[in-house]
Symmetry: C2
Subunit: 400 residues, 2 copies
């Protein structure tokens, strides 16, 4: 402590104190979401905040390697990471300690994740992460289940009118491959390695920007193509929208076999969702692939109503030992912004000397009982809404 | 990842995965404890896991400085600590962001704490910490309240028969001071500095070991004493035990004024506890001081029934800005060991194709509904206790 000690109220950027009543709201929300998962058979696991970095950053954990705080373990003299994502830990548990448990294995989790840097739009560096993982089933019904369970959890939390946005992140690559527009295929046709890599990168960028003209202009240089991209690509890009219409477009298209399989799988997942939750609003964007680097099938983004934004994200992936898996993470702080604010807990002021007996019933009825510790304690200053008189909680008038 | 990559199932020492059903049990227990705190007007705060070390380790945080993981914040280029104790953070919040809120201020918290090394007896390096802080009141009724609320929270969690062990960590120092057995007083009487320090250390060690002969043997060398330690010390050491008997011993003793004040305050705290919770078992150990380095009044240790050990710890201290404060931390993992094991959630297997309608009622009734995702899914393998037949959950026979 020196004279120029920094302001103790100052926290590192992106790290905050949650105060009353937000801290209680967040905790209640997390438990509501987990209760919904539990009701569908998802059992809770709690991996540690720290583990060895080579285990934490294996598999899908590699995607958050740059965002992971590292520190040295003085016990083992090895580097540990402070988790930036819980899903790689759940995959580790599924593959090791629960490796012999029957599949499909349903797990859920809730906990804090930390990241080295926030972004301008999302400055937080500590976030509560909540989610489900369904491991060991490749069935469309499995993908459907995580979507339905996540939507139901949000409904229980009071967030109505969510939209499930399904994308098919493998579709773009499969189409380019069918058209002969991979680095390998281009090289085989005499294009130099660097030019081939640049061309494929530009093609993917054009798809990402939903710019068929740019894509086709590049593709022309490699003509003739094995697939009629000029026909397929604009139609696939335009198909993005409400799921039923998008599926109808896909159904009528003459897709190459691998793309057809992806489209049919999406149709099966959506049909399975409809069976369990006919009211869920679903959109489909067949050509979207950004942000889902390790997804191998459908990918999900859940949007809240109005301007509440993205509430969660997930999809199908290959877990450790190549096990098929699908899952969803919900962002509790975003869900909290989208959920209605619960009524504050009524607080009853208990004067000095009041007997304990009446208070138990009041607490059981949802009151917080706030005891005066001295005659100086005042009901309004202690933010009490009621005062104990003759064993009853009497509302404090707004003005008197 | 090299060929000699370590076993991915291996976690750093003292860091564990909680699996089903323990992870859910711990979370439910924490929420039960926090609900009890909330019912007594304690409002939840959630400080971040990381903050600047100079703020994290200020005040009572200094006690855990050696146990705190440090890491560099790349954003500010300053050192941050990963909290080893939540109470200094709550004190910071009380003094800064809630500095203008009326006192007494009642706050509670739940979260993970991490420490650099475990001990042989308590190897865990990540622990869930749960507690209350009551800031801004010096009244014995405040100390009584945190004890009563902690005991009630444990009762709600199913832990009956706890013992509250009250110690008076300032008593030993006050007695030695009254007897002229401080480093300063000894030096003033011609004892060299090092000898005086050694003598005081040996006296405190003797008290800590409850060895009056050792204490008096050392004290004799400094005779004459201003206080009759040979009379007081053995009686104070022997007084440790059930609170009423201990208080009776203290009441009849001719204590020096500062020690008398400590004894009378203990009597007032215990009387205030009895008023609110007459059945709570209380013991008093007037000369115990170890493990409470920053406590300024009564200190608490809560023991579970039988051999379940220490469940929590707390007491009176000076918070930031010299505010009087008192609080209690409960160790959720120890409480979980002492609490009864809840009945497992019944799981009902839902065959492929079953309609969704019946399931909502089953989930509302406490069942987990586990859907078959393919015909290969089997009820027993998925650890189901029931199977859905004609919309009803039918128990699966143990053998059939």
């Amino acid at each position: 402590m020196t004279d120029d000690a920094p302001n103790p109220a100052l926290l590192p950027a992106g790290l905050i104190d949650l105060l009353p009543p937000e801290a209680e709201r967040e905790a209640a929300l997390v438990e509501t979401l987990l209760a919904a998962f539990g009701a569908h058979g998802y059992e809770r696991v709690k991996p540690p905040l720290l583990e060895f970095e080579d285990s934490l950053l294996a598999g899908s954990g590699a995607a958050v390697a740059e965002q992971t705080f590292r520190l040295m373990d003085p016990v083992s003299q090895r580097m540990m990471g402070l988790r930036a994502d819980t899903t790689p830990q759940v995959a580790r548990i599924a593959a090791t300690r629960l490796g012999l448990q029957a599949r499909p294995l349903r797990l859920c989790y809730a906990g804090q994740v930390l990241r080295v840097r926030g972004t301008q739009i999302a400055p937080e560096r500590q976030l509560p992460q909540v989610g489900v993982e369904l491991i060991g089933s490749a069935a469309p019904a499995a993908d459907a289940e995580v979507a339905v369970v996540a939507a139901e959890a949000l409904t229980r939390a009071g967030v109505a009118g969510v939209t499930l946005d399904i994308s098919l992140p493998t579709m773009a690559g499969v189409l380019l491959e069918a058209a002969g527009l991979t680095v390998e295929a281009l090289e085989a046709r005499g294009v130099r390695a660097k030019a081939a890599r640049d061309m494929v990168a530009a093609l993917r960028q054009g798809i990402d920007r939903k710019d068929p003209v740019a894509v086709l202009t590049i593709a022309e240089r490699a003509a003739p193509l094995a697939v009629d991209l000029a026909d397929l690509l604009p139609r696939l890009l335009r198909a993005a929208g409400p799921a039923d219409a998008a599926l109808a477009v896909l159904k009528d298209m003459a897709l190459p076999p691998a793309a057809r399989a992806i489209a049919d799988n999406a149709a099966a997942v959506i049909a399975a969702i409809r069976l369990r939750d006919p009211a869920l609003r679903i959109t489909l964007d067949p050509m979207e692939f950004r942000g889902f680097p390790y997804h191998t099938g459908v990918a999900f983004t859940v949007f809240g109503p109005g301007t509440t934004g993205e509430l969660g994200r997930g999809g199908r992936y290959l877990s450790l030992n190549e096990e098929p898996a699908t899952g969803m993470s919900l962002y509790a702080e975003a869900v909290q912004r989208a959920a209605p604010v619960p009524a504050p807990r009524p607080r009853v002021f208990v004067p000095v000397g009041a007997a304990e007996e009446a208070l138990t019933a009041l607490r059981a009825g949802g009151f917080a009982t706030v005891r005066a510790l001295s005659e100086a304690d005042a009901p309004r200053a202690l933010r009490c809404t009621h005062i104990l008189r003759d064993g009853q909680a009497v509302p404090i008038e707004k003005k008197d």
